[in-house]
Amino acid sequence: MSLRIAGMGWVTPLGRGIQAVWERLLAGEEASAQLISDSLQEQKYPFFPVPSSVLKDLPPHPRLRRASPISRFAAAAGLDALKGARSITLIEGRELDLGKIDRGRVALIFAVSNGGVVYTKRFYHDVAVSGAQSASPLLFPETVFNAPASHLAAILGITGATYTVVGDGAVGILAMLMAEDLMMNAGIDFSLVVGAEEADWLLCDAYRKWRLLKMQPPIELFRRPPRGMILSEGAGAILLARDGPIAVDKIHAGANFSRRNEASERIVRILSDLGDERAKILVTSANGTFVDLAEETAVLREMSDATIYSLKPALGESVGASAIWQVIVAAQSLRTKRLPPLLHVDPGNIGKLSPASGKETPAGAAIVLSCGLNQQVAGLRLSI
């Protein structure tokens, strides 16, 4: 079965839109970190927020009136992915006419890790401080994992399959896998895969307590010992069809690792399965944590000549959105034959790996590898 990328949307701390964000990444830019605070504790944490200006032109919709940031990011990315597909020839030479798509034949697969944490915290705060009688019936529905997907389905008018898939950073790949499985059904013409996340002080504190968060930028890759990552937020959307310029060649559903030192062995299996002589680009999930060493060890074993890139020093760790962002980078690298420069990597730390330098990087295929922070790994290969 042919599975192809027909449209993409991107909402990031470096702005919105595939071309706009891509150009800034190619120029070696990185997002600005801000400090986030909360009345719970005095400690402040750095994070990479999505600038509010990028959502100014989001069309009004009743579902977005009270929705939390994650739903707005997702709506913007999803609408952009559909808009981006307008100019692409899709089915048997016919142009895609968005108005004529049967919305019952479109599947929406939503990838998320932490979900609507802003409203969940507000809801539970009221309960913890003032008791159950203070619980808000307006906030509670927005705490449910599939609330953003429901809003997006309502905005796009999708009446067919809608799934919210939950996991760690690898969840975006698992959502792509679900889309592939759904597209085996002749009753579905398109799958819109959206990964989204919103940042909050509570998440920063939790990842800090988990010894994974760095207290000031930048995110430095491949350091020993690892210094940690910084959270970000935003969304990525990929419209999958049976025709389009970039092919999703193969998705490896991955596996789970019980201990962090097992991650590398799982990654080796994925790279071995996805390996292809055309695949000269590897978009990794290295983020300044234990993930870096796990990926480095596996890459040196299986794909030592690949040019590697991670967007996390530039855009931060967006967890549920991160793997979709990586897929966008891989697709853009194949389309433009370029990869942005890998930021904040000390040549003394990177050893024998070949980091992206910002120069031309032609390749017929690219591999996306995602090793999550909570036991899941997965990967996929794109080609042009």
Partner: protein, 398 residues
């Protein structure tokens, strides 16, 4: 590609009705009311004060020994129980993929963490709470306990999650891409979710009376269930025991409201129509429907309307009166009820029923189970966000 037939070769369950298929069957046949006063957290300020709960002491008996076992969330312990029972029936079942539904993961650990922060308490346990909070963790923990490392897709489609998980797993095997998939659902009772449904006034201070004309709302429950699905040819080739066949799945999304169903019943109707079409059977062939039946006025009215329009007078029951609504686990647990009903040829009861809506003519299996010849059953799950899912399960016939 020729579509494969998909069979259930093993199943495991833990719920307020009991641990395992034997206890569950006994309680289901007896129409036992397993809903009681909430003991896990303070509900003094809530309207609703009851739920279907699983006793911790019995869960502890099943958890792995040592420190790791003690750190596991109750949801992980439930999943270990359910998966353990399924694998005890078929120890050679090695899944290519695991698809599990849930709504809240290890939510109570998140609550512990937030309360500790709020009170400026000792946060020594915080890393453990945080690491064991995510929804994929109980699935991975359960697989770990039995040496399985299949990739996990965790579906969080609110109350439809469990049926969505089984339905998606079914389609994965039917397409021929996968030979064996573990499917199911889990959810453990948590204060945040309990208080949330209470705030919406969806939870009742009275008994849970699905489809009753004087129904006043739902009660929550908890549990986990696992079904091992396999391509029929492979199952037969290795001599696996076949419990039943899954033949159809329907999913729909209605965009009416985030928490309320479209009163017309369009969403549920589409899901049921698609499931029946997917199974290649006519609506008249359905012998029993395990309804979503939460006992909220809106849900039961919309679902009842759709059932009456599509299926006429088919026997239906909601089993949530017995154990409460276990959210992401509900669809999986109710699929197991359907397996038991097919295996033992009886209709599970809709307890606490006094009389139906005059506007909707339904054939409710009121208050007591009864023997019946049934070959094809339908199970429904509908959730927040307008997600609707239905599956068709049939008695296996070679």
């Amino acid at each position: 590609m020729k579509e494969a037939r998909v069979v259930v070769v093993a199943a495991g369950v833990v719920s307020p009705l009991g641990f395992g298929l034997v206890e569950t069957l006994e309680a289901l046949r007896a129409g036992r009311d397993c809903v009681g006063g909430v003991t896990r957290f303070d509900v003094e300020q809530c309207r609703c004060k009851t739920a279907g709960q699983i006793a911790d002491e019995r869960l502890f008996d099943h958890r792995p020994k040592g420190r790791k076992g003690k750190r596991l969330h109750r949801a992980s312990q439930m999943m270990i129980c359910a998966l353990g029972e399924a694998l005890a029936q078929d120890s050679r079942f090695e899944p290519d993929l695991t698809v599990i539904g849930t709504t809240s993961g290890g939510m109570s650990f998140g609550q512990n963490y937030y309360r500790a922060l709020h009170r400026h308490d000792e946060l020594r346990h915080a890393p453990g709470w945080i690491a064991n909070y995510p929804p994929q963790k109980p699935v991975i923990d359960a697989q770990d306990a039995f040496g399985i490392s299949a990739p996990c897709q965790v579906i969080a489609n609110a109350c439809a999650s469990g049926t969505n998980a089984i339905g998606h797993a079914f389609e994965c095997v039917r397409s021929g891409k996968y030979e064996r998939v573990l499917a199911g659902g889990y959810d453990a009772l948590s204060e945040l979710v309990f208080v949330g449904f209470d705030s919406l006034q969806a939870a009742t201070p009275e008994r849970c009376r699905p489809f009753d004309r004087n129904r006043t709302g739902m009660v929550l429950g908890e549990g986990a269930a696992i079904l091992a699905l396999e391509n029929l040819e492979h199952a037969q080739a290795r001599g696996a025991r076949i419990w039943a066949e899954i033949t159809g799945y329907g999913i729909s999304t209605d965009n009416f409201h985030l928490t309320q169903p479209d009163p017309s019943g369009t969403g549920p109707r589409q899901a049921m129509e698609r499931a029946v079409a997917s199974a290649g059977v006519r609506a008249e062939a359905i012998d029993y429907i395990n309804a979503h039946g939460t006992a909220t006025p809106f849900n039961d009215a919309a679902e009842g309307k759709a059932i009456a329009e599509l299926f006429g007078h088919v026997p239906i029951s909601s089993t949530k009166g017995m154990m409460g609504h276990s959210l992401g686990a509900a669809g999986a647990i109710e699929a197991i009820f359907c397996l038991l009903a097919l295996e033992h040829q009886f209709l599970p009861p809709n307890i606490n029923f006094r009389g139906g809506d005059e506007a909707i003519d339904l054939n409710i299996i009121a208050n007591a189970s009864r023997p019946a010849k049934i070959d094809i059953v339908l199970s429904n799950s509908f959730g927040f966000g307008g997600t609707n899912a239905s599956i068709v399960i049939q008695k296996f016939a070679a």
